[in-house]
């Protein structure tokens, strides 16, 4: 359990870095959104979308950070989380639904989409749709296998 505790603390550090990065992105996109107008090169709503997305990421990381902080102070909750993450059925369902590779791919595609929002709306929307589709398929498969097993 000590190793798991260290793993959670490591995750907390990653989330703090994630919050800082997402907050920085949010500021960059918000400033671009304020400066740009529909007549300029970068559409206003595109920057607004990216800023909103970064804000959602910041909030998500902050919530996860709070959850882990609470769990670290409660041994029962810590063991429950350990059981949940190492449960053989959950692992099997996750692997059958594409495993971590789908999550990583979707993450990289979303990041590429955010960067491409500076250059092309078509590329950005295609990449976002692609990532969304990947995550929807994964969720649908997870739901299917959760009912099956």
């Amino acid at each position: 359990m000590e190793n798991f505790k260290k793993q959670i603390q490591k995750r907390q550090r990653i989330f703090i870095a994630g919050i800082m990065a997402a907050a920085a992105l949010m500021i960059v996109f918000s400033r671009s959104a304020v400066k740009s107008s529909p007549a300029e090169t970068y559409p206003f709503y595109l920057m607004g979308f990216s800023a909103g997305f970064s804000m959602a990421l910041t909030v998500r990381y902050a919530l996860l950070l709070g959850r882990y902080r609470k769990i670290l102070n409660d041994e029962t909750e810590l063991k429950k989380l350990y059981n949940e993450e190492n449960d053989e059925r959950n692992r099997m369902i996750s692997e059958k639904s594409g495993g971590m590779i789908v999550k990583y791919c979707a993450g990289v595609i979303v990041f590429a989409g955010l960067v491409s929002s500076f250059f092309s709306m078509i590329v950005m929307s295609t990449l976002m749709a692609c990532a969304f589709f990947l995550l929807i398929v994964r969720k649908a498969l997870m739901l299917y296998y959760s009912r099956k097993f």
């Binding site: 063991k79 429950k80 350990y82 059981n83 949940e84 190492n86 449960d87 053989e88 059925r89 959950n90 959760s146 099956k148 097993f149």
Partner: protein, 69 residues
Amino acid sequence: MKTRIRELRKQSKLSQEELAFAVGTTRQTITSIETEKYTASLVLAYKIAHYFKLQIEEVFDFSDLEEKH
């Protein structure tokens, strides 16, 4: 695979949540094993049997497998 987990739980007045916590799994997994949707791994089967202080074959019914061979 048929099991006696539900029966043993009832005898011990144990909830699925409590059993899951004790053997290091989730309530959903215990439910799936009890409803014969999921077959536990050897390690989990051992942990469950060990928890009730029984042998694996006293908790899990292997008669279907024996009929096939």
